[in-house]
Amino acid sequence: MLAYLAKRITASLFILLGVSVVTFGLTYMIPADPVAMIAGRNSTPAVREQIRTQLGLDRPLPEQYVRYLGRLVQGDLGRSYARKSDVGPLIASRLPPTLLLMLAAIVAELLIGIPAGIYAASRRGRNADKVAMTLSFVSVSTPQFVLGLTLLYLFAYVLSWFPLGGYGSFSHLVLPALTLGLAGGGWYSRMMRSSMIEVLRNDYIRTARAKGMSEWRVITRHGLRNAILPIIAMIGLDVGIFTSGVVVVENVFGWPGIGQLMWQAIQSLDIPIIMGVTIVAACFIILGNLVADLISPLIDPRISLR
């Protein structure tokens, strides 16, 4: 186990290094000049050169990267061009809202996906099954900004059940979590359905039914316990899937997380923030995958960590 962990963590470090190389290369290869964005339209060439030197942007790209990496190892993510403040604290202040939103979205997708999947499996082939699977298909395919705006319009503007975007209380959390969670819920309902159908075919289910157990108890006691295993293993991977979703959802709902920060940084070519958010997000995705892999053998003894 420890050997496995050590191996995974070493591999993760290499992945992070790769992510930083690629992001660094891509952002600086864009045919755009961050100095022009900072210096503004009135600057003289002399002032632009001064700023370029101050930021070290006049150095060859590999040297810039090595310097960046050197600071990164010490935990310094650099300083934002546009906001003139340190990137580390900036991301740290935006991380809790994003993590809260992801957690709520995971809860939402499980609350939607698992019951829907069980229900569809128990009504297999009937109309209820078809309706549930069609809905899951729709929820998976709807673009998140359309879904978010529709939910806002209906439940916040027309019905006034929830606030119109913003951050702070539980009621602020519901709609963005639902927007992120509905798509995942759609996937999970499909997985849950097929997994449940498979489990319900087993002999021990037939035995349970034969001894006169109610269908409800058959499904919850014997079916669910076995059918839910593959779903739990998937949760860790959601972190990666949600990372792209939060950029959209946070912008629609005015949620002050790293997705919003990233989006604004991209618009103003604020490379230190773009780099910082990418690296932090990569850390979380790697962590999520690691957790998913560590959980797998616990719930399915046939899988072993090597």
């Binding site: 864009i30 045919p31 755009a32 000049d33 961050p34 100095v35 022009a36 964005m37 900072i38 210096a39 503004g40 339209r41 009135n42 600057s43 003289t44 060439p45 002399a46 002032v47 632009r48 001064q50 700023i51 101050q54 300083r79 546009a82 906001r83 003139k84 403040s85 340190d86 900036l90 202040s93 935006r94 809202p97 705006l149 806002l152 319009y153 916040a156 503007y157 006034s160 119109l164 975007g165 913003g166 951050y167 946070e250 912008n251 629609v252 709902f253 005015g254 949620w255 002050p256 997380g257 919003q260 920060l261 604004q264 991209i266 618009q267 103003s268 070519l269």
Partner: protein
Amino acid sequence: MKRLLISAVAAVALLAAAPMTLAQSPKQGGAATITFNNDLTTLDPHVGYDWQNWSVIKSIFDGLMDYKPGTTELEPDLAESYTVSDDGLTYTFKLRDGVKFHNGRVMTSADVKYSFERAVSPATQSPGGGYFGMINGYDDVAGGKVATLNGIETPDDKTVIFKLSRPDATFLHLMAINFGYIVPKEEVEAAGADWGKKPVGTGAFKFVEWVPGQNIKLERNKDYFRAGVPYLDQVTFEFGQDPTVAVLRLKKGEIDIVGDGIPPAQFAEIMADPAAKDLIAEGNQLHTGYVTMNVKVAPFDNVKVRQAVNMAINKERIVRLINNRAAPASQALPPAMPGYNADNKGYAYDPEGAKKLLAEAGAGEITTELYTMNVDPNPRIAQAIQQDLAAVGIKAEIRSLAQAEVIAAGGSGKAPMIWSGGMAWIADFPDPANFYYGILGCAGAVEGGWNWSKYCNEALDARATNADAMVKDDQKDARVGEWKAIFDDVLKDAPWAPIFNEKRFTYHSERLGGDPSLFTDPIHIPVNYDYIFAKDAQ
């Protein structure tokens, strides 16, 4: 009975409305909430240079000069009075008595000197420090050789003398832009790298708090040197608010101003809504949207081709395309700018004439590229231009890119044509000079500069310098006349095709009152927060 009730209600409503219309100046009190999609980047007046932070900074800080609210007319602000020497090289400002920073300290001439040195110092990385190039000693400070500007003298606490290396008629405007705002040294140094996050000024509003990514709160400065203003007790700016959602929130009465303006997709609907009619202030801004043509490379090195492009574009159709949120432009200067020539109608839409000119130019088949920023409505506008050009035989391929990439392509001279939308020049101060040097003069026609046409006419540059040397009050008209002539000549050379002048529409809640000009203030964009008031406080 019903009718009686209605008239009783009407009478009460009239009574309630009466004192408001009669009142000479509004009562203080109340609050307003303004939403923005993007976070504010900084509240450092010497650094902030986007349209969002520009006017928030104006409410927290002051300069020696300012503009009368809702107009482009200069008046002394932190200065009580000023004199200009006959040669235009010495400006002497007498400071107002009893102006205090928000920390309680009295502002003095030393603060003025410090502030300009800070704006010019390379350590500040100010995008506007270059504006003060005419102050003696600028080069040494900007070059990082010394820290003090020898062109600023402070004989006593209440007097500041600026010595200039050349006369410059825009100097008083420069005393009113954010880069010339006065900051307290002790607060700047105490805050260090965080200064832009905890500003302390002398302005109408005092900074209270900044919750990153969420909001900024300001409260009324009770010691503000102008008695009776501002009217609002509190102003809150909320960030990360999608304008589409912000419009819904305004309709529900949760917020007061959609800072980003009305989203294009909802514009027609809101303008047609009778309930919103009185809540939308319409005004002009000092803006021109234009197409640049790189005069250094074929085919646009030929003036006839450039003129033909001017004649080929149907500006009326483009204006309709954006729901009439603009007016067709005849020239580089917007109509509200001094120097605008109302008699110059520019190039009329004339595709046949354009074809003839192209034939005369002997340019043959022209294929080129039109760069545009990739945010709506700019790609649609570029497509309209593309169609108009195709009709006269110019094939323009559209390059729709992120803002920073278009700016880079323009600065390097790589882009033969650029549609300026989304990056266009909104004047920093209301003077024709601000529309010339950086975007049409030789100074901007360098690698990384903002003169994307790379148009450099040295004769015009010399005339511009001469015009700006006319600094006396009785030369004002002659100076504006000369600028008019300069811009007429620019139009003949046609480095740009001016397309339209954007109008501004500010959507605000019923709660807020104030002259419509305050909601479309040409200087405070989007709104002059210092002079609007809350109706519920009256």
